[in-house]
Amino acid sequence: MSGMRGLSVFISDIRNCQNKEAERLRVDKELGNIRTCFKNDKGLTPYKKKKYVWKMLYIHMLGYDVDFGHMEAVSLISAPKYPEKQVGYIVTSCLLNENHDFLRLAINAVRNDIIGRNETYQCLALTLVGNIGGREFAESLAPDVQKLLISSSCRPLVRKKAALCLLRLFRKNPDVVNADGWCVLNTLLFQFIDVPFIFSSSYAYRADRMAQLLDERDLGVLTSSMSLLVSLVSNDYEGYSSCLPKCVKILERLARNQDVPQEYTYYGIPSPWLQVKTMRALQYFPTIEDPSTRRSLFEVLQRILMGTDVVKNVNKNNASHAVLFEALSLVMHLNAEKEMMSQCVALLGKFISVREPNIRYLGLENMTRMLMITDAQDIIKKHQPQIITSLKDPDISIRRRALDLLYGMCDVSNAKGIVEELLQYLSTAEFSMREELSLKAAILAEKFAPDLSWYVDVILQLIDNAGDFVSDDIWFRVVQFVTNNEDLQPYAASKVREYMDKIAIHETMVKVSAYILGEYGHLLARRPGCSARELFGILHEKLPTVSSPTIPLLLSTYAKLLMHAQPPDIELQKQIWNVFKKYESSIDVEIQQRAVEYFELSKKGAALMDVLAEMPKFPERQSSLIKKVEDVEDTADQSAIKLRAQQLPSNALVLADPQPVNGTPPPLKVPSISGIKLDHESASQTQSQPNGDLSKVQSQIPSADLLGEMVDPLAIEAPPVDMGSHQRVYREEDGIPDEVDGTAIVPIGDQANKVEPIGNITERFNALCLKDSGVLYEDPYIQIGVKAEWRGHHGRLVLFLGNKVTSPLTSVQALILPPAHLKLELSLVPDTIPPRAQVQCPLEVMNIRPSRDVAVLDFSYKFGTSMVVSAKLRLPAVLNKFLQPLQLTSEEFFPQWRSLSGPPLKLQEVVRGVRPLSLSEMENLFNSFRVTICPGLDPNPNNLVASTTFYSENTRPMLCLARIETDPADRTQLRLTVASGDSTLTFELKEFIKEQLIAIPMGSRALVPAVPVPAAPLAQPPSPAVDANDPGAMLAGLL
């Protein structure tokens, strides 16, 4: 470059520019010049071409757009002299990317250089391919690059570059290189022999080649090849087992024999990079079987673990600890003997007390990992004081690690200590951590509570200390517990009463107190300072300080206090009535409505008793907190550790199982109401082995019908009716006996091993009932999408099974449990879903006769070696899918309506407990399930008239008519009349519409502990009388 005067003049011109503007002018001038020269017909001398291409590169580096002259750059690649070739390669790799068409022109020249004899040219070419080699390069050059890598005649310099180039090609296009590149010679050789043989032999061949490479003496080549190996085995380790002993050999050579040339030692450590890479590669293999290899590996690891010390020199420290921590994770991966583990933990224990923050951080992080994988819990516990000290470290990332570790290591034995420590720390922790901290404290308290009063204490303390950071879920949870545990109620009430005496309390505390005192305040009535009037007094003091969402809660509490005041207290009544009157004109609708209603109710005396009866118990459910914390932790890290953790699902289970740890089962039990669980919970518990022995109890209770729960998650005490044999699916291992299920403390074993679906399956199903495509089910490994088309009584669903992870899902099974009215044909579901692939399974549906029953898809797959996930999913092939919207005029409608008279063709029913909807909302609802509203047919504006056509094989296309008469004064009831030419259809359609009107509290309420809404059991007309008498139904909307 030295001889080019024009270039250096240009560069100095640019450097001398005073400002951006002057620079731009100079650049534009130069570009004009270059354009003129390139356009010159006479052609350029190689010198000039080189000079201008360098200038182009310089201009490109300055950030200007250079969109011409690529041809010249590419043509320089095939120039005979080195200086021109060099500029050609450099500029091409800078200006072009792998998607440019121009690169195609270069492939041949590059290939000539690669297969040529000149080393310098080979290096240039390999660098270019490594930098911008796209698919086409991979396809045409990978075999040549590979040949270079394994050729014995090449110098290490070239082979190093070849290895790295191949690595890059593999990373960009694993399929190309794997299938055609690495073993292409082989395939060519064997293509006339039978196919399976090619496959296996190519594997072996590949591995052999790789193993051969690992015998290399030159450490540079070895390091590059090791990078390649890491990349190859991270994709698929099978077939590389012959490399395993070689890797161990390399480690031995480096760490034990220290047989390394001087230039590859770094601060006295023999090639730390190679050591780290080798150990990383080993982590991608499952455990080592061969005892002698294993022994020698452990010997090396032992040496590394023992031989590392913290020294002054930062670089040496970094290098040695990089090796050490990789060794630690290898030890964890290999499930070494207890002795070695404890040695590791001891080492980590030493690190977390070191001054150097980097090492402390790594120590804590690795301890957390160790917790995930190994059973080192007891050993780690010894370091608890040290970890707690780290919680007070000045460095926030260390504090976070410490918090994670504490959260992970907590179990029944040390929960009390840790939670108290966290609570104490909460008051001094900085704001960014408080929310996570309070959430984790709440979860630990819930998970490992020795008794529930302690749990209540902890949560109240938590709210008191860090009210701003306590999410609603936390206090919902505590209220849920108190409501479900009668023994706890007086204790909780007295406890919150104590907190109320504090001068300034947080709003969340006011909420909890208001709720608990309203419900259970009367239990304290005998105690001093706890009469209804006094409770009202202290609660009412807080009212001016709270925000508007809390006021309705307080109003409910007042109403309850008033009811519980025994004997009736006129003075209190006056005060409370004053409050109600005051809020009767509140601008907030919620407050206003409650004030008005409570005021009217409280005048009625006896009715008040009914309405304000104690809240019914909450259905037991999984803590939403845990889900929340899982969401936070979910990262897409595809490390060896993670892979490993997924392969070994049962380890964590073993160590977290509380039974062997504390010996006694949790002392508290909640009297169970029913076997209700969230549907996904039950769906994924098909393999909870620890409870297998108890399952007989479950199977004897016919009411806890699994399917029934799935279809209606809110059903309470479903009467043991016969639901039609085709619907009943019993699975013995499904059940967990009610006693265990109902306790506040959910057995940890179940949670650790379960795959949680993402999102609520019921909500997804409900959404799919109204639209034709969407997600039916999703968990961390798979996503099932549905797309449907409906024509008459035929339908075609396509299930999209998408594998979300990078390892295949095996043993995929899908079984359809069709109800009698549907004919379902599912095409073949493949046994395996390849990594990150999507499989489509078409499903043909034919409707034979009207029915509201739902088809169920029993779906299961295997992840890794032992994890079986199964789910029962309702398919959205429901009644309304076979409807066709139809708009009628009054001339068409009324003759039909009159001709269908009286049962069974025309049915009428008064429906109560309807979700209150405005008329337009109701219209939308009807239209969404394809029943068309015909406006203007009914003279009364509060009534709706609708029509649709139903298709099934038995009935002809059948006209269906419906009329809904609403009561503007009471939106929760209406009269529904349905008519059609088929009695079954009329009944089914009526029931369907009724379900739609009553069911599904919408998403906004999902967080609130749901109050059970009575809903009709399936296939059985419900008695409306039940609805009207149930106070729960009337209060359903209030909380």
Partner: protein, 438 residues
């Protein structure tokens, strides 16, 4: 009176602050950094003279190699701010006696600070007239060596001057030779479509005067504008002359013009300040005589060739001529080779501005000249972006020609002593933004 500035900054082209003065506390001291990062270092610079960043408005202007930036945070009068900048620069120039640039600022820090204190108070502009300010800011600027104007002696009673009725002129001036120079300078703005339709056309004109008159003379100027002529004919009760009358829009006068007399008698009469000043400004939108017509044809032949043909016709009087005619014909960015044929002048390709620049030193009236060029383009990588075809731009000066047709009918000087004066009148028309689409 609205606020004009919260702070004023003088920056060099690199964005370094040379001098700044904060008048109000409502802007932070580091706002100029925002200007540097958001305006100077982006392509925004020069696109829009007023920019808002983070609640502050930046009103800026480049004069030689200095950016003058006014920062305001309230709803300020932007026109007032620009006027202030222009006047302040004129003031500085009169103090430095020459160029206003980075070096001049660096040499006159103290003086500039003193002036900045004086000419604006709490964001409100004050007296900016150099004659007056020189009475009490007597500090001399460091003059550049090229200017050597003799300095007048200051008159002691500055207060009288500042408060007096004729604030712009000192008493007791005397010249051997009493001369008045009057220039009418017009610039033509034009936007014409490729078919020759005038889309936008106006003329902005200035009447500039330079007076070297003794005593307290009273001057009266007569132009061939419509209002003045009508009034005149009305007063003299005789029909207006058959000559062309011009309708002036938006006339603004220097403060020396007696507006009450203008309103009642429609005559421009004034006591002029000494030396150079701008007597009036006006704008004309109708009846503009365009000095040049341009007929371009540009053909794109395929992806790599273009043909350009431009014919320029001068339409002013045959005895007159235009000077310094420059026609800039835009070409695509990928232009590689150009071939010209011109009848007069010289043409070349300038890659920095992506234009063919055709220069003609002298262009006589009622003639025409053509340029035809063949252009070769280089092929590029990306998909071809269609060329936007920016308009052709023209620069010229036509002496003794007014695009508006404005003429001076008389300029009378009356003084107590009754001396004779020599009056010089010149006309010149320049191109403003003279653009023809192609």
């Amino acid at each position: 009176m609205p606020v004009a500035a919260s702070a004023i900054y003088f920056l060099n082209l690199r964005g370094d602050v040379l001098i700044n003065r904060t008048y109000r506390d409502d802007v932070g001291g580091n706002m100029v950094d925002a200007f540097r990062t958001h305006i100077m270092q982006t392509k925004e610079l020069g696109n829009c003279p007023v920019r808002q960043i983070g609640g502050c408005s930046f009103v800026y202007m480049r004069i030689s190699n200095v950016y003058i930036v006014i920062v305001v945070s309230s709803n300020a009068n932007v026109a007032c701010a620009f006027k202030f900048v222009v006047e302040a620069v004129a003031l500085f120039k009169s103090y430095f006696g020459g160029a206003f640039d980075e070096d001049a600022i660096r040499n006159n820090f103290v003086l500039i600070y003193e002036l900045l204190d004086e000419i604006m108070d709490f964001g409100y502009p004050q007296n900016l007239s150099p004659e007056i300010l020189k009475l009490y800011i007597t500090q001399e600027g460091v003059r550049s060596p090229f200017s050597s104007k003799p300095k007048d002696k200051p008159v002691p009673n500055a207060t009288l001057q500042v408060t007096g009725a004729v604030g712009w002129r000192r008493e007791g001036l005397s010249y051997k030779k009493n001369e008045v120079f009057l220039d009418i300078v017009e610039s033509v703005n034009l936007l014409m479509s490729s078919k020759g339709n005038v889309l936008r056309c106006d003329v902005t004109g200035k009447v500039l005067m330079k007076c070297f008159l003794s005593g307290m003379p009273d001057l009266k100027l007569g132009l061939n504008d419509k209002i003045g002529l009508e009034k005149e004919s009305e007063m003299k009760s005789r029909p207006a002359k058959s000559g062309k009358t011009i309708e002036l829009d938006d006339v603004t006068f220097h403060q020396c013009v007696n507006l009450t007399r203008f309103n009642s008698e429609k005559t421009v009469s004034f006591v002029p300040p000494d030396g150079e000043f701008e007597l009036m400004k006006y704008r004309i939108t109708e009846g503009v005589n365009l000095p040049f017509r341009v007929l371009p044809t540009i053909n794109e032949l395929g992806r790599t060739r273009m043909e350009v043909n431009v014919k320029v016709k001068s339409v002013f009087g045959a005895k007159m001529f235009a000077l310094g005619v420059v026609v800039k014909i835009p070409v695509p960015k990928q232009t590689a080779k150009t071939n010209f044929q011109v009848t007069t002048g010289r043409a070349k390709y300038n890659p920095s501005i992506d234009c063919l620049v055709w220069k003609i030193r002298k262009f006589p009236g009622q003639t025409e000249s053509t340029l035809s060029a063949e252009i070769e383009l280089i092929s590029t990588m990306g998909e071809k972006k269609s060329w936007t075809r920016p308009p052709i731009q023209m620069e010229f000066q036509v002496p003794m020609f007014t695009a508006s047709g404005l003429r001076v009918r008389f300029l009378k000087v009356w003084e107590k002593s009754g001396y004779n004066t020599v009056e010089w009148v010149r006309y010149i028309t320049k191109a403003g933004s003279y653009e023809i689409r192609c």
